[in-house]
Symmetry: D2
Subunit: 214 residues, 4 copies
């Protein structure tokens, strides 16, 4: 029987009319590969609500792999997040006009969770396929990190691999943000497919440097 | 009769095995559009020789528009150069292992030439088509600027529009340069087509801000 | 009786001949302010050993405040770290030529610890005094983060405020790293004094945005 | 008899309340060194008027060396400009609320002028004294470049060495621009003194790489 892979993307936020994460994710809805089938969900860019939609999807779909995807305007590559931290500290309001400052994602939860994706193998797989990628040491402190933390909290101790990938602006967004890097949609979609297949096929992550001095 | 558009790209340099400028340019060889036909030439990444190959191509083809294209590793968008300066100051050796420092491109030539492309209209056209683009105030001081200056010197006073566009790494190059931005080949090719069509169809450049404080 | 403030800085690493953190910290050795006295220690830039020297100093001095300081070449300001993570992933070897990859700082320790310094009040205090400063969401995964995590692990549950501040290159270092920002030693020293005094005088941290979208 | 060195700095612009260039320059007013005396002038940040004030000062003082200094928010070091270009293209209005787009600085003037300062020797001198410095290939297209071009046009063919140096924000400015690099005033002042002394004492510029690929 096919395993289920759940991909999530956010609705647009911060005055954008599209969200590249959702554009990429929704193009993969229903897609099947060797031994897996992709389900997708759009998450609201709203503290709290985003995590609840995610939880409902996980309860419904019982996925083997979950990759939450988010827009990181200003980043240059497919950036595979290492760690989710238990803090909401929003530099801008979310889509419900709520701007949390220094609140825990989960009161009483641990300070952080590491991704359970094989992040080094994913970066190696992406680069090997000619796609720019890197390990990221911070997913920020806005709704992306909030969802990432919620995801790891929800899946802690379960038989599911979960994590978060940040992606750059699309070219058409960068056209309105002079100086911002971008990646074409087709490249992002190809990258997500590689990432989920590596997650499905890799038991132990590879040992490759992905850290930063500071 | 069709007008001729000459596009040039360089051979790979600085330890790269491909040059995105040449990859983009050669994919347009022989292409025809409304009232024009594209000719392409590869230039050596060599001071002096690059300008001579360019001159021969211009003499042979009598183009109406010439756009020289070059790789700018680290840049984020299609960067339409404003000005070529009369200096060679090479931070790395060229492909003939020559590293000129503070030599004029053309002894006794003017300090600089402005591009005769409608650079503001090109940037507006690219952005309007969803491609990230900007005016650049410097083409550097390596072989790209050398060719740009040679081109403007050769075409000075003639009925030909000429200029230079820098492009980012391709994704597969950026995969080997963590932290470097990239653009997909298809986007670059689409951008060059827009640029040359704007150059053919625009008489007076538009008045739009494209400058920098510093 | 005076409270003790412990400041630590590292020995030089990564081919540098000085470490701005140690230069700043040692200039404050023995300094006294209203109700406090500063003690300083140099830490080896070595996984494991750095944490042991720190532990011995804490055991000996029983400080009320500990601020570990480290060089972050490429950063622009006084960057007050929010969180230490339980991972060593070294992009370069440490000073004992050891390059750990994906090892925990403390086997079985929690994924992360938040700084117990009033990081928002410190940033506000620094900016209010005309010094560039910001909250940082990642201390990297090299020896700085290693020491930061060790520090928080050692002081967990104790009556001591502890955290980490990253500082830029000194101007003389940046002179050898074209493109790198810097801060003058006097500014860094002034900033550390402000930081420790804010840490001593602030009970509850202020509520000010210090987060990042991604 | 002492030679006269003219240093200029601008009034504050772009919502700043101070201009680091003027702060640095005015602290050197009347200063004397071996064989020279420094005169300073503040320039309005206004197209046209800035050049006129400069011209009057040159006519009055008959300086041997002129260094115009300007704020470049976002730059990291003392950036010695190589070339002034004959274009005004203002991304923001000047202090007279005038925002010129694609106008020549001097109608009919040459496209550009190279600095007549020994720019490579100045950069080498600064670095040798522990100050971060680099050659810059563009002074932008705002009032700084306008003054630089005016200066070179006014001094063309005369026995005077002239050029432009861009400097970063001061720390107190960067405190209000998170993410922006800065340099301490004392470092900038020291750097300007070195620059003018190198300009007075160097006949032929040194041959050192200071260029850029793109």
């Amino acid at each position: 029987m096919n395993k289920t892979v759940l991909l999530t993307g956010f609705e647009p936020f911060n005055k954008e009319t599209i969200n590249p994460a959702w554009e990429a994710v929704r193009s993969l809805a229903g897609q099947e590969g060797e031994g897996y089938r992709i389900e997708v969900r759009q998450l609201p860019c709203v503290f709290g609500a985003a995590g609840e939609v995610l939880r409902a999807a996980i309860d419904e779909l019982r996925p083997s792999v979950v990759i939450a995807v988010g827009q990181a305007g200003g980043r240059v590559d497919l950036s595979v997040e290492r760690i989710a931290i238990n803090i909401d500290d929003a530099p801008i309001p979310d889509n419900a006009q709520c701007q949390l400052v220094d609140q825990p994602v989960v009161a009483g939860g641990p300070a952080a969770y590491f991704s359970t994706l094989p992040i080094k193998a994913i970066v190696a797989g992406l680069r090997g396929s000619g796609l720019p990628a890197s390990v990221s040491q911070t997913a920020g402190t806005f709704v992306c990190n909030h969802v990432f933390y919620s995801l790891m909290h929800q899946t802690a101790g379960r038989q599911v691999r979960a994590g978060f990938i940040h992606i750059p602006y699309l070219p058409q967004q960068a056209a309105a943000h002079p100086g911002a890097p971008s990646m074409a949609l087709a490249e992002v979609v190809r990258g997500l497919t590689i990432a989920l297949e590596v997650a499905l096929s890799t038991r132990d992550d590879v040992c490759e440097v992905g850290g930063a001095v500071a």
